[in-house]
């Protein structure tokens, strides 16, 4: 396979520089610079429409950036020569709406990409899948269809699906926003354990408690720009910018 070069080992997990994204007339990202180091948990907060989900979706090119640079483990992912599928296989992505495949059982949801993308055999893929289901507390749901899972279970299964690819990093796009309040805790617990295990994570979220306790860095976005970034406790308790203050006063 050509295209994907071995990454320099000391390269940051994610490096975004001068990123712009326009949807026609609308400019959603206006020059974003952001670095996520290996093993770091970076939480991105901000009002809806601030561009935080678009930023996250640019990192694995679900959205095509208008201009700027994105490097994942040192590899320029906007280079047309790279094998994007190979890069994506190393980046786990968790969606607000789970996006489990409804026509497959939970176990098949976890094995299909392992087999089709990584070329793992049936037995190995199943073993990896079961291990990850156990990790998120859903081993007993292996043979269920997604329609029979609660929202919280579905999201944990989706996390296990991403983990089964043994990704180097995980992107979370408002993973708890579609859940009933009583189901949020289980999902956050899984994410907390994941962070403790050393996983590199970029999390777009409204869960300020999670950002404070688990995050290594907090990024506040508004109107397509990063307004303020830093240690989560500092940003949350003593925001420096008026826009951050005004946002936090509404959500805290």
């Amino acid at each position: 396979m050509t295209g994907v070069q071995e990454a320099p080992t000391d390269a940051p997990a994610i490096e975004v520089a001068g990123l712009y994204k326009r949807f026609g007339e609308l400019e959603v990202l206006k020059g974003i610079d952001l670095t996520v180091k290996a093993g770091q948990v970076v939480c991105v907060i901000g009002p809806s429409g601030s561009g935080k989900s678009t930023l996250l979706r640019c990192v694995n090119r679900l959205e095509e950036p208008s201009s700027g640079q994105i490097r994942v483990e040192g590899i320029d992912i906007l280079d047309p020569e790279i094998d994007l599928d190979k890069v994506r296989a190393r980046i786990g992505m968790v969606f607000q709406q789970f996006n489990l495949f409804p026509h497959l059982t939970v176990l098949s949801n976890l094995t299909i990409a392992q087999r089709r993308v990584l070329g793992r055999g049936k037995t190995e893929a199943s073993e990896v899948a079961r291990h990850n289901l156990e990790r998120v507390g859903l081993l007993d749901k292996a043979d269920a269809y997604p329609a029979h899972l609660s929202g919280g279970q579905a999201q944990r299964a989706a996390i296990a699906r991403s983990l089964s690819m043994n990704p180097d990093m995980m992107l979370f796009d408002e993973p708890t926003s579609a859940l009933d309040p009583e189901l949020v805790g289980d999902v956050l617990d899984v994410m907390r354990h994941l962070a403790e295990s050393g996983m590199t994570m970029m999390v777009v979220t409204h869960e300020m408690g999670f950002a404070r306790e688990v995050g290594d860095e907090l990024v506040f976005m508004d109107d397509g720009m990063i307004v303020e970034a830093g240690n989560p406790r500092d940003v949350l308790s003593a925001p420096r910018h008026a826009r951050t203050q005004s946002f936090l006063s509404k959500v805290l």
């Binding site: 599928d85 495949f101 699906r161």
Partner: protein, 253 residues
């Protein structure tokens, strides 16, 4: 009260039709047991068998063609889209009878080609071309009915666009379009009767051609009534079966 009146009206209507009908003539024209008996076993072993076989061939062929056309129409490559749109408009706009005729007589002469499997093969090609045009639109609608998040999830896992289409999008699209596809199948069963225009041999007669020939030979409509019964005998169990399948799948979702 109101329901009672409606029921009474219904019964009265049936009674009127039964009274008005000339049962003696009907029996004479359409229910000659001797003629009916003479049609066996060929009406089953040749005619009904061919109707089913031709329907299956046209359906499978149309399905494959329909998938290709649907993907072309959804393609980002503009000439592919135009080609698919042109094709679909052409073959949906023409009567199936003319397309079958063209494949059996016009194209072989114009292009100096011989269609495989003789006249019935040429007719079947025409039927496939028409079925593909209709099914393309159905399949396209099914693909568009699969939520965008499904593709995004698959691509995020590193699946290529082709793999995503085969493993994720199409299986879900087909679940959505089972009812309209059943409809296409039933329409095709009946459209096999148009194959007569391509010409047939004794061995390639389907139900309508077979029974129309039997009608002329005997100067009696009995074979036509038998054909009608056999068509229903095929279509009704089929639609029931699909309804059961659909309910089962709904449970799995």
């Amino acid at each position: 009260m109101r329901r009672g009146v409606l029921y009474a009206l219904f019964v009265a209507l049936i009674a009127l039709v039964a009274y008005a009908a000339d049962w003696g003539r009907l029996r004479e024209q359409f229910l000659q047991i001797d003629i009916a008996r003479e049609q066996f076993p060929e009406i089953i072993t040749i005619a009904a068998k061919n109707t089913l076989l031709f329907t299956l061939i046209a359906f499978v062929g149309g399905l494959v063609l329909g998938i290709v056309l649907a993907l072309m129409k959804l393609s980002t490559i503009t000439p592919y889209r135009w080609l698919a749109i042109g094709y679909i408009e052409l073959f949906r706009g023409l009567p199936a009878l003319l397309t079958i005729f063209a494949m059996a007589y016009v194209i072989p002469i114009a292009l100096e080609v011989r269609m495989p499997f003789g006249q019935v093969g040429a007719g079947l090609v025409g039927l496939i071309l028409v079925a593909g045009a209709y099914m393309a639109e159905t399949i396209r609608a099914g693909i568009l009915g699969v939520p965008k998040g499904q593709t995004e999830a698959a691509r995020s896992l590193g699946m290529s666009s082709g793999r995503t289409m085969i493993s994720i999008t199409l299986p879900q699209a087909f679940r959505i379009i089972i009812p309209p596809l059943t409809n296409e199948f039933v329409l095709l069963i009946k459209d096999t009767s148009l194959l007569f225009i391509a010409g047939s041999t004794i061995q390639t007669k389907e139900l309508t051609t077979f029974t129309r020939d039997a009608q002329s030979v005997n100067a009696n409509g009995t074979p036509l009534l038998m054909a009608a019964m056999l068509y229903l005998f095929i279509t009704i169990p089929l639609t029931r079966l699909v309804a059961v399948l659909e309910r089962r799948m709904a449970k799995a979702r």
